[in-house]
Amino acid sequence: MPILEVERVSHWFGGLQALKDVSLYADREILGLIGPNGAGKTTLFNIISGFLTPTHGKVIYLGKPVQHLPPHQIVRLGIARTFQIVKPFANLTVEENVLAGIGMPYYAQFRGLVAPYRTTANVHTASHLLELTDLQNYRNAPANRLPIGIQRRVEIARALAIKPKLLLLDEPAAGLVAKETLELANLIKNLHQQGINIILIEHNMRFAMSLCQRIVVLAQGEIIAQGQPIEIQANEKVINAYLGQE
């Protein structure tokens, strides 16, 4: 059984159909989700992570339908995400951003109201995540004053803090310089080796091709191709979709 199945999902924004009968699955892999601007990629992430309820269709996670759950409950099941337009907690430091993720199991319990968050164990876990994402030098920096590449890493560290089984990354390489992109690719591979399953939205074809084991291509709300990177590169519909955009 795949970790995640999207079954015949359609989504309308008023009169605009952003997703048309989309079905896909994600397994123990790095899955790429690519497609031109406005294809519906972020909308699909919003549906999987509970920020939107699909007009039609189902999202099955570990065998259970979850499409009706709100985002703060989805994340408790182990689905974490980052945002295309970064949303770090601007009023908190980088370390506190990560601690906020570590708190995920507490927020829904009475314990959360009374338990202090800055314990030795939690600070230790946060340090570990900051090292993993190479943020240790920014520990005490306010998250909003950092360059975009670092803010993206803060979001990844925060998402990892919830101990996800499935991690949704929405254009994590956008705005990064070449060196940062390379480091990001290594981080993503590393996370996958640690057993985290990843779905990655990406505009940068080369980046997606080098990293993903399988790729799903969306265009105008529909899946137009899926398969191995090599097949996708040669796929005529995909080439046309991208050419049509330029």
């Binding site: 992570s49 509970g50 920020f51 709100p70 985002p71 703060h72 994340v75 408790r76 974490a80 995400r81 945002f83 949303k87 770090p88 907690f89 601007a90 009023n91 908190l92 430091t93 506190e96 601690l99 906020a100 993720g101 708190g103 995920m104 199991p105 507490y106 927020y107 829904a108 314990r111 959360g112 109201l113 009374v114 338990a115 202090p116 968050y117 800055r118 030098n137 920014y138 005490n140 920096a141 306010p142 004053r145 950092l146 360059p147 925060r158 998402a159 803090a161 919830i162 310089v177």
Partner: protein, 303 residues
């Protein structure tokens, strides 16, 4: 100035420190702008007054009931915050203020426009606390307890959860924070503390009138929080002290004192919008040069 007069001012300051700190939980911690804090202040005062006058209950029971009942009403009145976005929340909380005042004014049980008078002085451990030093100590203890509670909240997961919803509700949801739940908590805790302050006020003055808790009072409390430095613990305290003292100190210019008071507020917002002791304010940086907002920020290589 007589000692009695000074003690009255100081007692008021202590009560207003609790009020400003209570509103800071809502506005500063959770980022929910509210123009209705005086309503909770009033509900606490009226609860206490009604229990003391109509049911002859002792102060301890009046006081604890004021906290619990106002907290409960706060949970309930916090519900609009779940449905509306920030700018509308300002209007909704204003509305709460008007509704609560009308109830005090037009329901006979609450004494109508004439209010409720002859609220007995609190008696604790056999000591009567009418005015003077004892009452100042009593209200200072309450202000200290409030400060302690606010400090403790800021160290807990709920304090962190408040910060996340203040920052971005979507990002908060992405780490498992239900913004609905935490907004309601913030309203409940904030209202409960204001209710206690209301009870202390009622037993101090000995009478309550609807207009004391009108909309302008909400503005006054919010001004204290913003003037001092929203979101910090020191800010609401210093804000309450300065804004309660200024009109008194300016008494000699009588008619113009509120003009000056208003001008002070406007200047403050123009030149130090983070508040006089807010993070990053001129004065706070002078007093506390090592604060994390400036010193620990690594130098960024911005291309």
């Amino acid at each position: 100035m007589s000692t009695g007069y000074l003690l009255t001012i100081f007692t008021f300051i202590a009560i207003y420190i609790s009020l400003a700190l209570s509103l800071n939980i809502l506005v500063g911690f959770a980022g929910q702008i509210s123009l209705g804090q005086a309503a909770f202040f009033g509900i606490g005062a009226y609860t206490s007054a009604v229990l003391a006058i109509r049911y002859s209950l002792p102060f301890t029971i009046d006081f604890i009931s004021a906290i619990l009942i106002t907290g409960f009403v706060g949970l309930f009145l916090g519900l609009p915050s779940l449905r509306v976005r920030h700018d509308f929340l300002v209007l909704a909380t204003m509305g709460i203020n008007f509704v609560v005042i009308s109830v005090f004014k037009y329901v006979d049980f609450f004494g109508g426009a004439m209010g409720l008078v002859n609220i007995p002085a609190p008696v604790l451990f056999g000591i009567s606390f009418r005015g003077g030093v004892p009452y100042f100590i009593l209200s200072s203890i309450y202000a200290l307890l409030t400060l302690g509670l606010c400090w403790y909240i800021s160290k807990t997961w709920s304090g962190l959860a408040f910060q996340t919803i203040r920052s971005d509700e979507d990002a908060a949801a992405s780490v498992g924070v239900s913004s609905a739940r935490y907004k309601i908590y913030a309203f409940g805790i904030s209202a409960a503390i204001a209710g206690g302050a209301g009870s202390l006020y009622a037993h101090f003055i000995g009478s309550v009138f609807p207009d004391t808790f009108a909309f302008v009072e909400s503005i006054a409390i919010l001004s204290m929080v913003i003037f001092g430095g929203v979101g910090t613990l020191r800010g609401p305290i210093i804000g309450a002290i300065i804004l309660r003292l200024t009109p008194e100190l300016l008494r000699f210019i009588s008619d113009y004192r509120f003009t000056l008071y208003g001008a002070l507020l406007v200047l403050m917002m123009l030149f130090q919008p983070m508040g006089i002791l807010g993070n990053g304010s001129w004065l706070w940086q002078k007093l506390h040069p090592n604060n994390r907002d400036v010193a620990n920020t690594p130098q960024m290589e911005v291309k």
